[in-house]
Amino acid sequence: MASLNVSVVSADQEVWSGEATMVVARTVEGEIGILPGHEPLLAILAGGEVRVTLAGGEKITANAEEGFLSVQSDSVQVVASRAQLV
């Protein structure tokens, strides 16, 4: 199964990166879930939780403030000026 290449990046470091099956984030328009094969997207994050589901079913949660989400050919980048894992 195709998987997503996810990285969560904050201004001063890369918070997390790895393979995942799904990413759920909150944009200004509402929650959005990203699965492999999603169309290229650039969205503004509303701040709050970003949930990343790993291949094994485990979940990673990160707090991201003031940032955006970019999806392009199965690579997802959560970019925020402040972000940390919870």
């Binding site: 470091q13 503004i44 940032g67 402040r82």
Partner: protein, 298 residues
């Protein structure tokens, strides 16, 4: 002990003490370069991601944004000068200030008024000494710049940019800072920050064709949110580069100071030895002369 000899010994001791200090500073700077460099590296994923996003928006939309459009007439230009808070770094601060002066000269010759934004105590001191005014100053955290500082600077700069020229706003923003090239070289760099030209010096733009993006909520809003962030990240990068370059410059300056102290110590030791020899020779001559005189007197 002769007076001459004592003077030389004093000078040797003083050079030795100075050397101890400069040596310690050299080691401290060397250890801090690593850390500062690591921070520059750690911040690259962020700036790379933002640059990619901005260029994606820029290529696939013909939106005229206030931050990217060139004003018809540029009346006033702002120069953001990034220096350090402390000296003892060789030509580090003077080269960046010289570069800024040259830039101001150029801007003035184009008929633009120049206003300054200063980061670092050295730039503020330079301006205060010459009784020149500046718009905003930030001091005290240039050694270890935090993102909040970059945010603050970006905010002030953007605010000035968005204000009308008639109200004292600026139409163009330049940044002058020291870029960390290697341990041995730090070059002053001049970058025009606004109006934006989306080019990233750090990385070659990847040649793959950018896909058609969907924007949420829409292109204008995304661009509105993205461009200030891009500015922030550019300023943050400049601050980090400058901090790393400062430590490298300090290390270099302190190394040459220690080397110079070494040379002084050798030279003075030689002179002191010479003086001691001369003293001994003179004493022998006196004793021999005295003995001879006694023999003759008998």
């Amino acid at each position: 002990m002769g007076a001459q000899l004592r003077v030389y010994r004093q000078k040797i001791r003083s050079a030795q003490t100075t050397k101890k200090i400069t040596k310690a500073m050299e080691l401290i700077a060397a250890s801090r370069i690593q850390k500062a460099q690591a921070r520059v590296t750690a911040s690259t994923p962020y700036s790379r991601a933002i640059t990619r996003a901005v260029s994606a928006v820029a290529t696939y939309s013909n939106v005229d944004h206030v931050l990217t459009t060139e004003p018809e007439k540029i009346e006033r230009a702002a120069v953001l000068i990034v220096t350090s808070d402390r000296g003892l770094a060789g030509a580090f601060n003077s080269q960046v200030l010289r570069e800024a002066e040259e830039l101001s000269e150029l801007l003035r010759s184009q008929g633009k008024e120049v206003v300054y934004f200063l980061v670092g105590r050295k730039a503020v001191g330079y301006f205060a000494f010459r009784r020149r005014s500046s718009e905003r100053q930030w001091v005290g955290s240039s050694e270890n710049p935090q993102f909040d500082l970059a945010k603050d600077v970006a905010e002030a700069v953007l605010e000035a940019f968005l204000r009308d020229a008639a109200d004292g706003g600026v139409d163009e923003i330049h940044v002058v800072y020291n870029r960390f090239v290697s341990m041995m070289t730090q070059t002053p760099e001049v970058v025009r920050l606004l109006p934006l030209e989306v080019v990233e010096g750090v990385e070659e733009p990847d040649s793959t064709v950018q896909p058609l993006y969907e924007f949420e909520p829409d292109v204008e809003t995304v661009l509105d949110a993205l461009l200030p962030v891009y500015i922030e990240s550019r300023i943050f990068n400049a601050l980090l580069q400058s901090a790393a370059a400062k430590h490298a410059a300090t290390q270099k300056a302190m190394k040459s100071a220690s080397d110079n102290a070494d040379k002084l110590i050798t030279d003075y030791t030689r002179l002191a030895n010479e003086a001691r020899q001369a003293e001994i020779t003179q004493q022998i001559a006196e004793i021999v002369g005295g003995a001879d005189a006694l023999v003759v007197a008998k």
